[in-house]
Symmetry: C2
């Protein structure tokens, strides 16, 4: 497969080398940021492009891995040929690509990508969607060379997956940052919490989250909870989170 | 060391066999629940006890691993000898033991214990506190046979650790349960989120939580956030959590 990569951010710069290592050939890498385009293009041994109108029309596949709001202004300047055009966004419907080409789809790997960390794609579920059965098959084959978990999902499901990921990743990480601040306040190191953080994630690999739930909120242990709220008296926002989450945990435990 | 174990819950039934495997000898296991006392005592090859007044006075160490509110009524019925009496609770100060014996302390392993899962103590940090330097040394030696992370901490620090653990474990797990409900609503399986959950925990082993933070709230991307809030319209409580956490993430990101 001959691919044009549109975007050179966290996702693009991990996905493209992984696909290249499976024998897929990249023709061009587009990024407005010359440095990013050049760096990734040299890794993929292809041409860097910083103006969208220079993107070739003869690729088999265009992977658009841009920020959500950068997508329309860039795509409107590209003349696509017959190749399949996909975006990689959880939160955008497939239909936003309709006005640029009839041959479109979505290629959404559900994982958190950051520059500093190498992602193992074999563990990543890919959610695919396409305007035609042939294009869906093409995306299934492409994803299958990286991962065993390839799942057709419509735009509504993908949007919900993205929302779930905000809870399971972004918000979880925010709780880690609160926990870090709390231990630091008393002169202790965040590293002491890492085994607990690991075990919390490991537990739900075999138990459901409701089975794995522990803590004072399960039995609504007012004495412990009040003493925690007292410790949070200088952090009104965290206090609200504490109260809301404890109430939610107790509700879930009751209805179990 | 000759030990009496007071309690046979999740923590007791994992900690005691681990200590026994390092050569420590248990004399008695106390639990009001006869079945629990018998089961753990047979594993530890010692005597089960269901009435606190039958607990021996000649042990070197008494480990009290009871629920917070069960501690005083049980302890008040025991006649302790010269042995060291410790509790294992994060949220209770050491001073609650003062009225029962001058030789007291705390032995707090920071981990989430559940019946269904075996904890690897070598990864668990132990926080210790004692009324005398000799007893602190005894607890340091005891914890060191299980873990390399043995840290003296006073009652105020331990209480804050416990609060931090509520955020990093109990509340994180609650977010997992919300994410599960969200994907289930659209006919998708929670298992698809597990690689993301793992990566989220793994990231903070090498990055700080603030460095690891991603998502629409970092840049306060109103379009994505509004579309998420729309998806949450039937879940007013989760909507409030979404708004509060997003605001918190944005604040942290700005001040970085």
């Amino acid at each position: 497969m001959q691919i044009c990569l549109i975007g050179a951010g966290n996702l693009a710069s991990q996905l493209a080398p992984a696909l290249a290592s499976k024998g897929h050939r990249f023709l061009q890498v587009f990024s407005r940021t010359e440095n990013s385009a050049q760096k990734l293009a040299s890794e993929l041994r292809c041409e860097p492009v910083i103006r969208p109108e220079l993107i070739r029309a003869d690729a088999d596949l265009y992977i658009c891995a841009l920020k959500d709001d950068a997508l329309p202004p860039v795509l409107s300047q590209i003349r696509f040929g017959k190749g399949l055009v996909v975006h990689t966004a959880g939160s955008l419907p497939m239909s936003i690509l309709m006005e640029y080409t009839p041959n479109h789809g979505v290629f959404y790997p559900l994982q958190s990508f950051s520059k500093q960390r190498q992602v193992d794609f074999s563990e990543v579920p890919f959610f695919i969607e396409a305007a035609s059965p042939e294009s869906l098959e093409l995306l299934r084959n492409l994803a299958s060379c990286l991962s065993e978990k390839v799942v057709p999902a419509n735009s509504e499901q993908r949007k919900q997956l993205h929302l779930s990921a905000v809870f399971a990743n972004n918000f979880v990480n925010y709780l880690y940052s609160i926990a870090e601040d709390l231990v630091n306040e008393k002169g202790l190191d965040f590293k002491y919490l890492l085994p607990l953080i690991n075990e919390t994630a490991r537990k739900v690999q075999t138990l459901t989250p409701v089975q794995a739930q522990t803590g004072p909120a399960v039995r609504f242990d007012r004495a412990v909870m009040d003493s925690h709220l007292e410790l949070l008296k200088d952090h009104p926002d965290w206090k609200v989170l504490y109260e809301k989450m404890s109430a939610g945990i107790h509700e879930r435990a009751k209805s179990k």
